[in-house]
């Protein structure tokens, strides 16, 4: 009997510190979970409010814009119908302008990939002497703010007679996106052994064969990452498109959108509907290539 009482008397005393620690740990975990939940809610509100506003305004019925509510009383998708059918005079060339945006973005992507991969092939794979000069020039371009060069660039393009020509915008975006491509290709190319090139060289392959048959196929992941980046850069660019493209036939969707701002009584619901349609391709592209892009963007983020 005595042993049993001793056991029961001893057990809580021994278990108490352990239990208390466990309870404290549980409470701490609970608090961090609550904290994480609150933070998530704040982040959701922070992120989604401006996007919610775009959607809300685009669903306003005509004439209802900016009344005193948080969701339109007579929500209607009419504005999307108007945009798709080009039923408003700011939007009469909508699909043509959308085509201009697509054309500029595809040409930019193609050129950035071509020029970037050729440069990094020459500097990193063929190891041309003094290739670092090119790398440094590219780095310098990367850190010049594009808006600081806009004025001379505009005047030069006028002198070349390229005003209202999509190629002036393509040239500008390629100029500012290629340096980034060169860095990523160089960084990624380090993981491909140089011996591959060497053995192909001994077997008599010409540089152009090595470029097409060895370098490009092995670089596909980096090409996808940079291609996505270039596509989004072209789609996001506004200043150069606004300066260089001014007639309705040659302008792109962002420039057409900004036209709405010139008028005081513009139908904001049409504008926001246009904005949503314009924003869908980059969002889709981003989500499709999300993983490759973030790994490409941040390759070798830090070296511990």
């Amino acid at each position: 009997v005595s042993t049993i009482t001793a056991d029961t008397a001893l057990a809580p005393a021994a278990a108490r510190p352990a239990e208390r620690m466990k309870r404290a740990a549980r409470r701490r975990r609970y608090l961090t979970n609550v904290g994480a939940g609150v933070l998530s809610a704040v982040l959701l509100v922070w992120t989604l409010t401006p996007i919610y506003n775009i959607v809300m305004v685009s669903f306003e019925a005509e004439g209802d814009v900016f009344s005193d509510h948080l969701w339109p009383a007579n929500a209607s998708a009419n504005s999307f119908w108007i945009v798709v059918n080009q039923g408003y005079w700011y939007l009469e060339y909508f699909w043509h302008q959308f085509g201009n945006s697509v054309y500029i973005a595809s040409m930019v992507t193609l050129l950035v990939l071509t020029i970037g991969s050729m440069t990094s092939f020459s500097v990193m794979r063929m190891r041309i002497r003094n290739g670092w000069v090119i790398t440094n020039a590219a780095l310098l371009t990367y850190v010049i703010p594009a808006s600081f060069l806009a004025i001379p660039f505009y005047l030069i393009m006028q002198r070349y007679g390229l005003h209202n020509n999509p190629w002036s915008v393509i040239a500008a975006i390629v100029t500012f996106a290629t340096p980034y491509a060169i860095f990523i290709f160089q960084e990624y190319g380090r993981s491909i052994p140089l011996e591959l090139d060497e053995s192909a060289r001994i077997d008599g392959a010409s540089p152009i064969q090595i470029y097409f048959k060895i370098y490009l196929p092995l670089m596909v992941p980096a090409l996808v990452a940079v291609g996505t980046f270039a596509l989004l850069a072209a789609w996001n660019e506004y200043l150069y498109q606004f300066l260089l493209l001014s007639n309705k036939q040659s302008m792109t969707v962002p420039v057409a959108l900004a036209q709405f701002l010139n008028s005081d009584v513009a139908p904001w619901n049409y504008m926001m509907a246009t904005a949503i349609i314009y924003a869908l391709p980059p969002i889709a592209t981003y989500y499709a290539f999300r993983n490759r892009m973030s790994s490409g963007l941040t390759m070798g983020g830090v070296k511990g």
């Binding site: 506003n53 063929m126 041309i128 808006s147 004025i151 860095f183 701002l261 904005a275």
Partner: protein, 304 residues
Amino acid sequence: MTTASAIEFGGPAVRRQSLWRYWRGGLRGSEFTWALAFLVPYIGVFVAFVAYPVFYGLWMGSKPSLYTEVFSDPIYQQTVVNTIVFVAFGVNLKLFFALMLSGFFMRPGWWVKGLLMIFVLPWAVPALPAFISIHWMLNGEWGLLNNALYHLLGLDGPSWLNSRWLALGSAIYSHVWKWLPFWTVILLAGRMSIPQEIYDAAKVDGATGLRRFAHVSFPLLANLYLVLTLLATIFLLGDFNSVYFVTGGGPANSTHLLATLGIRNAFDLANPRLGVAVVMSALPLLIPLVIILMRRIKNAEVQL
């Protein structure tokens, strides 16, 4: 064979050949020609669209009398203050929150991953519709923000865009909103590249929570953080879209940044030289930043 024939022809030929060999590096036969040919596109882009505009801009802004005109402009004086405030708050808020949030997004669990996918949305949405949406959201009379304040809290919000400091704050807010995901993703990749063993070792030594951050994560991220600060400063100096669309430089031209004031002088006032002079006045700040950054990037091998 080649060296023997060079010796026969005497000194100058030897020197010429060794110079030639120096330039060719380890490349044989036609390979050097190919390596050069691969560089031609980028060199072309650099000369035509970087070097030429830069020198053209320097030439345009080379008259000292331009600067007395610029410096005596009261709008310019306000703009300099705005730019400093914008950079100081914009860069530090953005990077501090990005550093904290990247730690949050390291947490395990499906819903943190899902939240990250929503959180990166502002980065994927094109700048122009997002900023125009924020512009309308902040409208004092009908904007979503003041409607929400009124309906949820019964408060009458201020007219955000009608006073200089509130408007500048709104521009900083929209810049942070748009670019926070980008820097968070970069810092997240930086954190992910820290080997797990280091954390395990820290755990054995009893470092958790804040202490682990102060003694393990942050020292390893410090160099990356510094590079990102420099880069964010340069990017922010060149930011055009957030101020142009959210405040439009108003009220009464009191919230311009150097980039937007330059474009205004060049195009709205039709005085390109004055615009270039405004932008050039940022060079004494920009050039040291670029030099420090280029050294840092090379040492740290940070890729963005």
